[in-house]
C-alpha cells in the first residue's frame, strides 16, 4: 500500500513537472502561432492601392498573410455579396473587419451590431455619414480613418496655379458616400473663392466619356472628387483634359502618376499605415475600438510637373516647395 502511494506521489510529481513545462511551452508556441482571420471589405474593387497600403503596413506590424493571418477578401460592388460575406465573417467570428468606403463601413457596422467584432474603416467623413457619432469617442466597435479635409486647400492650390481660373468642371458619380460629401466641401470652397462649378453626374464610363467630351469651353480646371467610377477611369478624364489642356486637380487621393496636375489628399500608404496601426492596437494590444479615436488622415501634395508643362501651366516655386511628390 505504502509502495503504491509513493509510486503515485512520485508519478504525480513528475507529471506535474512535465505538465507545467508543457503548458508554458504550449503557451509560448500558441502565442507564436496565433492565427488571425481578418475580413476585408472593399466595395470599390478598382481602388486597389488603398487595400495594398493596409496589407503592406499590416505586414510591417507583423501580420503576414499566409503565415499568421488569413484575409477573407470581398472586393465587389455587389452589395448582396458584400452583405453575405459580412454575415459569413461574423459567423466565423473573424478577429477584425477592415472596411473601405462609407458603404462598406456602414454594412460592416450593421453586420457586426451586437457582436464585439472590431471594425476598422477608411471613409471620407465618419461623423457626417453617421458611421460614428464622434471622432474622439467613436463608441461601439468601429474606428478608423477619416479622409475629409483637403478640399479647401486643394482649391487654394488650384487658384495659385491657375489664378485666372473661374470655372471648374466636376465629373462625379455618386456611387460613394464620400462623393456627395466631398462635392459639398468643394462647393463651399469654390463659392468662397468665387469659382463656378459645373457638376457632371455620371453613372457609367460611357456617360463619363460623354461628359468629358462635352466639357464647357470656359472651363479652367477639372476637379475630381471621391468617386469610384471617375477615379477608376481617370484615363478617360485625362485623355480629354490633356487634349483640352485643362489641368486636373483632385482632393481624393494622391495619384499624380495618372496625369493629375495636382492632388492634395491622403496617400494610400499613409491611410494604410494609420488603419494598420489601429488594427494592430486592437489585435495585439487588445484595445477596444471605442477607445481608439477616429483619426484624420494627413494630406500630401502631389504634383505632376510633366503634365503641367505639357499643358503650359507654370507651377509656382512655393507650391513646388510644398509638394510631397513631384513627377517630372
Amino acid at each position: 500500500m505504502k509502495n503504491r502511494k509513493m509510486h503515485i506521489l512520485f508519478s504525480a510529481l513528475l507529471i506535474s513537472f512535465i505538465a507545467v513545462f508543457s503548458f508554458i511551452f504550449a503557451c509560448v508556441k500558441q502565442e507564436e502561432e496565433r492565427q488571425y482571420v481578418i475580413g476585408y471589405v472593399n466595395p470599390n474593387p478598382e481602388e486597389e492601392e488603398g487595400a495594398q497600403g493596409f496589407l503592406r503596413n499590416m505586414q510591417r506590424f507583423g501580420y503576414v498573410e499566409g503565415k499568421n493571418v488569413t484575409y477573407i477578401r470581398t472586393e465587389t460592388k455587389d452589395v448582396k455579396i458584400i452583405e453575405s460575406s459580412l454575415k459569413d465573417m461574423v459567423a466565423r467570428r473573424v478577429d477584425l473587419i477592415f472596411a473601405m468606403t462609407t458603404p462598406g463601413a456602414k454594412m460592416a457596422k450593421q453586420a457586426t451590431q451586437g457582436t464585439n467584432i472590431p471594425v476598422v474603416f477608411v471613409i471620407y467623413n465618419a461623423t457626417g455619414t453617421e458611421v460614428v457619432k464622434s471622432l474622439i469617442s467613436p463608441g461601439g466597435n468601429l474606428t478608423g480613418i477619416q479622409l475629409r479635409g483637403s478640399t479647401p486647400k486643394s482649391i487654394e492650390f488650384l487658384l495659385k496655379m491657375a489664378p485666372q481660373a473661374k470655372h471648374i468642371f466636376v465629373p462625379v458619380s455618386f456611387d460613394t458616400g464620400a462623393a456627395k460629401q466631398s462635392l459639398e466641401d468643394l462647393k463651399q470652397s469654390a463659392e468662397k473663392a468665387g469659382l463656378k462649378i459645373s457638376v457632371a453626374e455620371v453613372s457609367t464610363v460611357e456617360e463619363l466619356r460623354a461628359s468629358m467630351s462635352s466639357i464647357p469651353k470656359d472651363v479652367d480646371a477639372i476637379f475630381v472628387l471621391h468617386s469610384w467610377l471617375v477615379g477608376s477611369n481617370m484615363e478617360v478624364v485625362m485623355d480629354n483634359a490633356i487634349k483640352r489642356k485643362i489641368p486636373v486637380f483632385s482632393a481624393g487621393h494622391v495619384d499624380a502618376r495618372n496625369g493629375l496636375v495636382l492632388s492634395y489628399a491622403p496617400t494610400d500608404e499613409r491611410i494604410g499605415s494609420q488603419a494598420a496601426r489601429l488594427a494592430y492596437n486592437i489585435l495585439h494590444s487588445g484595445a477596444s475600438p471605442s477607445d481608439l479615436p477616429v483619426e484624420t488622415s494627413d494630406f500630401f501634395l502631389g504634383i505632376n510637373l510633366k503634365t503641367a508643362q505639357a499643358m503650359g501651366i507654370n507651377i509656382p516655386n512655393d507650391i513646388l516647395q510644398q509638394a510631397d511628390f513631384i513627377i517630372r
Binding site: N3, F17, L135, A193, R277, P293, D318, Q322
Partner: protein, 721 residues
C-alpha cells in the same frame, strides 16, 4: 487503518517522522543556498538594472526633450527670421501672402508632415493682416481681430516670444500649440505687430515615435495638466488621455497601468511647461534581473525537484524500509512475533531487515525459552512461595523463638510469631528485643553469640538470660547459625532458642538429689568398707588365737581378700565418681597391703604396678581385684622362696573392648607338672572362677618366672532398678 496510520497511531507522528525530517532537511539544504545565491544575485542585478534603467530613461527623456525643444525652437527661429529679415508689416498684402505661404510651406517636414497648420500676421492692434492655412481656404473677408487674445497681447506687451498652452481640436482631438513672435519697431521699441503660428503637435508624435526606449518602451509628452499631447500611438492623444507622471524616476504604474520604469523630464517653453515622459515595462527594464530570477527559480525548481526526487528516493530506499522495520517492530512490540520485516534491496536496509528478521527469530526462540523458563520460574516461585509459606508456617508453628539477625547492625530482619517481636521486626536490634539493652551483650558469662559466630565462623550455642515482653526473666539456650554472603563473609545469623528455665530448675533439683544420693552411697561404701575392716580386724584378732599355720594362712588370706574388697569400697567413696575406680591407685594400694600382709621385704622383692588410665566399674573391679589378690599372694608365697629376691609386675591394659591383666614374677616359676587350673588350691580355683565370671580367658606363661595373662571384657551388668 492503513499501515502509515498505524505507525502514526503509535509513537511516530508526522512531525517526528524521519520521512518528513529527511525531505524537509533535503529541501532546506538544497533550497537555501540556491535561494540565497539567486536572491542575492537577483537583488544585486535588480539594483543595478533599476539604476541603469532609470539613468537611461532619464537620458532618453532629456534627449527627447532636447529634440522636442529643438523642433519647437526651430519653428520659433523660422518665425523670428521672417520678422527680423523682412519688414513684413510694411509690404503689400499679396507679398505678405506670398511670404507667409512660403513660411507655411517651408514648415513641412518630409518625415513628419506639416508642422505649421495656420500662420497669421497681426498688426499693432491685433488685427489680422494676413492669414494662411494648411486646411482652410481663406479670403480677405475672413480676417478678424485677435487684439484680446494672449497670442497677441503677451508678445506685444512683453516683446518676448509667446507659447500658448497646448489646446486640442474639439472634433479630432488633435493637439496644437501657438507660437507668437513680436514684430518690434526698432525706433520706438514697441510692438508693431505679431506673427503667430499654430503648430500641429502631430509632428512631435513621429518625433517621439522614433525615439526607441528599449523594445517596448514609449516616450510621450504631457502638458502641465497631465494631458498627453504626443504619443507614438495617436489614439492615446486623440482620446484625451491624462497621466500624472511622478517627477522622480523609478518604478511606478505606467500609462497602461502596467509596472514600468518611468522618468520625467521637464521642458519649458516660455511660460508653458511640458513633461517628457519615458517609460519602459519593468519586465523589459529588469529583464536580466528576471532572467537571473528565472534562472534562480529554475535552479530552485530543479533543485527542489531533485531534492524531492532524492527525498522520494531516500524515502523509498531508507525511510520506507525504516518505516517497515518500525511497523514490524511495532507489531512485534504488540506481540505479533510472526511478523517479518519486508526485504527491499541488497543494501544496508536489506541487511538490516535480514538481521532484524534473524533477530526476531532469535527473539522468538529466546522468548520461547524464556517462557518455558518463566513457567519453570513460576513453578519454582510458586514452590518458593509454598515453601516460604510452609517455612513461615513451620517457623510460626515453632513454639520457640526463631529469627534472623543482620550481622552488621544486629537488626532482626525475620522472626516467627513465637519470638513475639511483633512489628518491631526490621526496626529493632536483637539486644533491644531480647535483653532490653541498648547495646550487644558484653558480659563474659553471657557472651554475644553473634560476636562469637563472627569470630569463629561456626555455629554456636550459648545460654542467655532473656526477658519476655513482660520483663520476666527466662533462661534460653540459643543456637546460632551463620549465613554467609557470596564472598564468604557473615552477613546474617540465624538464631533459635529454647526456654530451658524448667530444665535448668530440674537439673538443679537432680543435681541436688544426686549429690544427696552420692553422699549416701559414699556413706554406704564407707560403712561397707568399715564393716569389712571390722571383719578383717576380727579375722586379724582371730588369727592371734590360732596356731595352726594352715588355718592361720587361711585366715590371713581371707583377711586379705576382705581387705581387698574393703579397699575397693574405700576407693569408691574417695573417688570423685562413685561408679568408676582408678585401677592404678587401687592396685598400688592392694599390692602394697599384700606385701605388708605377707611381710615381704620390699628391698628384696619389688612390686611394679602398671594400670595408668584404667578405670573400671565396681562389677569388674572386684573380680579383677580378687584375681590380682590371689595371683600376687601366690607370687609372694611361692615365687620367692627363702630370701630370693625378685620382681612382681601387675599390669592392666585396655585394648578396644578388652582388658588384659598380666601378673608376672621372675621367681622360681610355676611348677611345670602342675596344672594351674587344677591345683586344688582355693586361690587358683578362685582365679579360674573369677576369670570365668569376667567372661575372660587365662593363660600361663613360664619364662624367667611365671606370668598369668587374663584377657577379659568389662562386664556390663543390667542396671538395677
Amino acid at each position: 487503518m492503513t499501515k502509515g496510520e498505524k505507525i502514526r497511531s503509535t509513537r511516530i507522528t508526522a512531525k517526528t517522522s524521519i520521512r518528513r525530517l529527511l525531505i524537509v532537511s533535503l529541501t532546506i539544504l538544497s533550497i537555501t543556498p540556491v535561494l540565497l545565491l539567486s536572491g542575492t544575485l537577483s537583488w544585486q542585478s535588480y539594483i543595478i538594472q533599476l539604476a541603469q534603467a532609470k539613468d537611461i530613461q532619464s537620458e532618453l527623456s532629456k534627449l527627447a526633450s532636447i529634440q522636442i525643444v529643438s523642433y519647437i525652437h526651430e519653428q520659433e527661429l523660422v518665425l523670428n527670421s521672417v520678422v527680423t529679415n523682412i519688414d513684413i508689416i510694411s509690404v503689400e498684402s499679396a507679398q505678405r501672402q506670398l511670404i507667409l505661404s512660403k513660411v507655411l510651406s517651408s514648415s513641412t517636414d518630409k518625415r513628419h508632415g506639416d508642422i505649421i497648420s495656420d500662420l497669421v500676421l497681426l498688426d499693432g492692434r491685433g488685427k489680422e493682416m494676413t492669414r494662411v492655412s494648411r486646411s482652410a481656404f481663406l479670403k480677405e473677408t475672413d480676417l478678424g481681430s485677435r487684439a484680446m487674445s494672449d497670442e497677441f497681447m503677451i508678445p506685444a506687451r512683453s516683446g518676448e516670444t509667446y507659447y500658448s498652452p497646448v489646446y486640442f481640436d474639439e472634433q479630432t482631438g488633435e493637439p496644437f500649440l501657438k507660437i507668437s513672435v513680436p514684430i518690434t519697431d526698432l525706433r520706438t521699441m514697441k510692438a508693431k505687430g505679431v506673427l503667430s503660428a499654430e503648430l500641429r503637435m502631430n509632428y512631435i508624435w513621429d518625433v517621439i515615435a522614433h525615439i526607441h526606449v528599449g523594445e517596448s518602451g514609449t516616450v510621450y509628452l504631457t502638458d502641465k495638466n497631465g494631458r498627453i499631447i504626443a504619443h507614438p500611438n495617436p489614439s492615446v492623444v486623440l482620446r484625451g488621455t491624462y497621466f500624472s507622471a511622478p517627477e522622480r524616476p523609478g518604478i511606478t504604474r505606467g500609462l497602461n497601468g502596467d509596472r514600468v520604469v518611468l522618468a520625467t523630464e521637464k521642458t519649458q517653453f516660455g511660460e508653458q511647461t511640458l513633461y517628457v515622459v519615458t517609460e519602459l515595462p519593468v519586465a523589459e527594464a529588469l529583464r536580466n534581473t528576471y532572467r537571473s530570477l528565472f534562472a534562480g527559480l529554475s535552479f530552485l525548481a530543479v533543485t527542489l525537484f531533485c531534492a524531492l526526487a532524492l527525498g522520494v528516493l531516500l524515502v523509498r530506499r531508507i525511510v520506507r524500509p525504516v518505516e517497515s522495520l518500525a511497523l514490524t517492530a511495532d507489531a512485534i512490540s504488540k506481540g505479533d512475533l510472526s511478523r517479518k520485516a519486508e526485504f527491499f534491496k541488497n543494501d544496508e536496509t536489506g541487511t538490516l531487515a535480514d538481521a532484524f528478521n534473524g533477530m526476531t527469530s532469535k527473539l522468538v526462540k529466546t522468548i520461547n525459552v524464556q517462557q518455558r523458563q518463566m513457567v519453570e520460574l513460576q513453578k519454582a516461585d510458586d514452590k518458593i512461595i509454598e515453601q516460604n509459606e510452609m517455612l513461615s508456617n513451620i517457623l510460626n508453628s515453632l513454639t520457640q523463638p526463631f529469627y534472623v539477625i543482620n550481622a552488621e547492625d544486629y537488626k532482626v530482619v525475620l522472626a516467627n510469631s513465637a519470638s513475639r517481636f511483633g512489628s518491631r521486626v526490621g526496626n529493632s536490634a536483637c539486644y533491644e528485643l531480647t535483653h532490653k539493652a541498648d547495646k550487644p551483650c558484653e558480659d563474659p558469662e553471657h557472651p554475644c553469640i553473634i560476636e562469637k559466630i563472627k569470630k569463629t565462623g561456626k555455629p554456636m550455642t550459648v545460654e542467655h538470660i532473656h526477658y519476655d515482653a513482660e520483663g520476666n526473666q527466662e533462661f534460653r539456650e540459643i543456637h546460632g547459625y551463620p549465613i554467609l554472603s557470596s564472598d564468604g563473609k557473615i552477613k546474617q545469623v540465624i538464631e533459635y532458642s529454647f526456654d530451658i528455665t524448667g530444665r535448668r530448675k530440674a537439673e538443679e533439683k537432680i543435681k541436688a538429689s544426686l549429690q544427696e544420693k552420692e553422699v549416701l552411697l559414699r556413706e554406704i561404701h564407707h560403712r561397707v568398707k568399715n564393716n569389712m575392716q571390722i571383719v578383717s580386724s576380727i579375722l586379724q584378732l582371730q588369727s592371734g588365737y590360732i596356731e595352726d599355720k594352715q588355718l592361720l594362712t587361711a585366715l590371713r588370706e581371707s583377711k586379705n581378700r576382705i581387705d581387698m574388697m574393703a579397699l575397693i569400697h574405700e576407693k569408691l567413696y574417695q573417688s570423685k565418681s562413685l561408679s568408676r575406680i582408678n585401677f592404678q591407685e587401687y592396685i598400688d594400694e592392694l599390692v602394697t597391703s599384700l606385701l605388708i600382709s605377707y611381710g615381704v621385704n620390699t628391698e628384696i622383692v619389688r612390686a611394679e604396678v602398671h594400670a595408668e588410665g584404667v578405670f573400671l566399674d565396681i562389677n569388674t573391679a572386684i573380680p579383677c581385684g580378687l584375681i590380682i589378690n590371689e595371683l600376687v599372694s601366690n607370687c609372694l608365697k611361692h615365687a620367692f622362696p627363702g630370701n630370693r629376691g625378685g620382681r612382681i609386675v601387675v599390669a592392666v591394659t585396655s585394648a578396644v573392648s578388652n582388658y588384659t591383666l598380666i601378673v608376672s614374677d621372675d621367681g622360681v616359676g610355676f611348677p611345670e607338672n602342675l596344672d594351674f587350673a587344677d591345683t586344688g588350691t582355693l586361690g587358683l580355683k578362685l582365679v579360674m572362677a573369677l576369670t570365668s565370671q569376667l567372661n575372660g580367658t587365662i593363660e600361663k606363661k613360664r619364662d624367667k618366672g611365671t606370668a598369668f595373662i587374663i584377657i577379659f571384657p568389662e562386664l556390663k551388668y543390667r542396671e538395677r532398678v
